[in-house]
């Protein structure tokens, strides 16, 4: 079934005796654009690392299209799952060489030069992400947003089915945030690429994701559409912070407002509490 494309069952993984996930189960449809949200320390990154394979699975299963991810060889996995990490890669290599590394999973051990086809694929995704003009520059000469775009280009060059992203927009200005998320949305729609990303900004999560997984204390608190998940009650439970939610007049998605302590006190004094 389509809804079992990425199927995580009773997953526990974590750091020795320290923080561990508590039997997380979640399924994604093929072509979903899903977000993992939750406060710091809620297990977002642990879940992410469990799926990407950085943390070994302690119990439970992760299936991608009925194949167990933990049984896939690294190379086979890299052809199907690409990961964009939170901090952009920096090394003294050109953008083109960097993006071309996305073809590594497809190389034979003795293949020394990259085939013409790989260069064509890499250039295609550099054009798509808009870093083609920078291809001769060194990674370290790019801005943070451009580095992130280059990282996405590299991930796409792997031609994966599933793209995992760890806070792709966390240290970018709104121009680049929107640029990158629009790109991800377009890739998701046009290439039927399944995307799962950790995202801190609840408003961006609401606007772009069509499925949200809200974590609290190493377990899933709520999962569903942004409308289902991002209600003020649930956000206040999970984040322990007072918020007001409304609907974005254009998109119809939830929009979340924070309230300062001063205002809260005024309202408390005037009305005895927030009138919902």
């Amino acid at each position: 079934m389509a809804s079992d494309y990425l199927k995580i069952e009773q997953l526990t993984c974590g750091y020795g005796q320290g923080f561990n996930l508590r039997k997380v189960s979640v399924s994604l449809e093929q072509g979903a654009l899903a977000g993992i949200i939750g406060p710091n320390g809620s297990g977002k990154t642990t879940l992410f690392k469990g799926i990407s394979g950085q943390l070994p699975t302690k119990s439970g299963h992760i299936h991608l299209h009925n194949t167990s991810l933990s049984h896939l060889k690294l190379k086979e996995k890299a052809k199907r799952v690409a990961v964009v990490s939170q901090f952009p890669d920096t090394a003294d290599i050109t953008v083109e060489d960097y993006v071309l590394m996305g073809r590594l999973p497809y190389r034979e051990p003795f293949q020394f030069f990259e085939p013409r086809k790989d260069v064509v694929i890499a250039r295609k995704y550099m054009r798509l992400t808009g870093v083609y003009g920078h291809r001769k520059k060194y990674l370290s000469q790019l801005s943070g947003g451009e580095q992130q775009l280059a990282a996405i280009a590299q991930a796409l060059t792997q031609e994966p089915e599933l793209l995992l992203m760890d806070e792709p927009t966390s240290h970018l200005d709104i121009t680049h945030q929107v640029e990158i998320l629009n790109l991800i949305q377009r890739l998701n729609r046009e290439m039927n690429l399944t995307v799962l990303m950790i995202i801190h900004d609840l408003n961006l999560a609401a606007e772009y994701c069509d499925y949200l997984i809200m974590m609290k204390d190493g377990a899933i608190h709520t999962k569903g559409t942004p409308q289902e998940v991002l209600t003020y009650e649930k956000i206040e439970q999970v984040y322990d912070t007072v918020v007001v939610t409304q609907t974005n007049p254009l998109s119809g998605k939830p929009a979340i407002f924070l309230v300062s302590e001063n205002i809260l006190k005024e309202i408390q004094a005037k009305y005895g509490g927030i009138q919902r």
Partner: protein, 338 residues
């Protein structure tokens, strides 16, 4: 893309030409100066003194310089790649310290006089291997590859070894002391043909083997995690390459003593000139290291002729100055976006 391959090919050719030129120069220069044009005819006169000098003294030295320079520089390039640290060189991991301690031990106990000429290289190799074993076992514990831990353990072993050596030097006779110091300073004066052959073949084997990992090394530039996401088994890669580089270093140190700086400076020079792509960096470092050591040996043999300077003096001074010059120029270039 084709541009890149073209420049790599040209650069390789240039290095080979320079290597041949340096080797010829090294054949002609020395206490007995031999003209280049005379060499073919001299090689026919098997009874002559010049024939003996060319084939028994100068040629073996050139071969050894090429092998040791190439191997050390290759080991440096590999280690800088797997440790993702530009300051790592073959000797950082305590390999030279361990080897020197092994040699000092044998000299102090006087074994080298009784057991024979292979004793010192063997002792050096045993010392180097012991260090590698300790660093490797501790670093690879529990299925992990903790490269920072390995690095620190290596540095600590260096300190322990050098202290232990100072202890040995302080209690021994001045004759032994001289032997130890002489060995530590490094020399390409190796009379045994078999040791030279072993060094050359292992250096070439190391080069071939490391080439299997040229692409994984490129991916490791981005870190172990990223490499894993690109389908590279970074643990296996790091372990195999660590062992390769360590063996190469161990062999070089036991045959030629501690010749510093080649493994640090040459890979950096090649990287500054031709970029960090390991597909070229490995061969470039190998050829460049061999070239550098042949040239250094010429200087060491001739500068205070008829005496000979320890080659480590030349590699340190020349390498350091050359490196600063190139670094300065390439940084300027980068800053101006050329």
């Amino acid at each position: 893309m084709t541009n890149k391959y073209l420049s790599w090919t040209l650069f390789t050719l240039l290095l080979v030409i320079l290597l041949v030129a340096a080797s010829l120069l090294s054949l002609t220069i020395g206490e007995a100066s031999i003209s280049l044009t005379d060499i073919p005819s001299l090689l026919q006169q098997k009874e002559s003194m010049e024939y003996f000098i060319l084939t028994q003294i100068r040629l073996p030295r050139i071969v050894l310089a090429f092998a040791v320079g190439g191997a050390l520089s290759l080991a440096g390039a590999i280690l800088q790649g797997i440790f993702r640290n530009p300051l790592v060189e073959p000797y950082t991991l305590g390999i030279s310290g361990g080897a020197a301690l092994g040699v000092a031990f044998v000299i102090v106990l006087g074994f080298h006089l009784t057991i024979g000429m292979f004793m010192l290289p063997l002792a050096g190799f045993a010392g180097a291997m012991t260090t590698i074993l300790i660093v490797g076992v501790l670093g690879f514990l529990r299925g992990g590859t903790d490269i920072n831990k390995m690095l620190l353990i290596g540095v600590m072993i260096s300190f322990v070894a050098s202290s232990a050596m100072m202890f040995l030097m302080s209690i021994t006779t001045s004759e032994n002391l001289h032997g130890i110091v002489f060995w530590i300073m490094g020399s390409l004066d190796e009379p045994n043909k078999m040791l030279i052959q072993i060094t050359l073949y292992s250096a070439l084997a190391g080069l071939l083997f490391s080439y299997l990992f040229a692409r994984p090394l490129n991916a490791l530039l981005l870190g172990q995690e990223k490499a894993a996401h690109l389908g590279i088994n970074s643990k296996t890669t790091i372990r195999l390459l660590f062992i390769t580089a360590s063996l190469l270093t161990g062999i070089c140190v036991s045959v030629a003593g501690v010749i510093g700086f080649v493994g640090l400076v040459i890979p950096h020079l090649i990287r500054l000139i031709a970029g960090s792509d390991y597909r070229f960096l490995l061969i470039g470092s190998f050829l460049g290291g061999g070239l550098f050591l042949i040239l250094s040996d010429i200087v060491a043999r001739t500068i205070i002729s008829p005496n000979e300077l320890p080659i480590g003096v030349i590699t340190g001074i020349a390498g350091g100055i050359l490196f600063i010059i190139v670094l300065n120029q390439s940084r300027n270039k980068k800053r101006h976006g050329i």
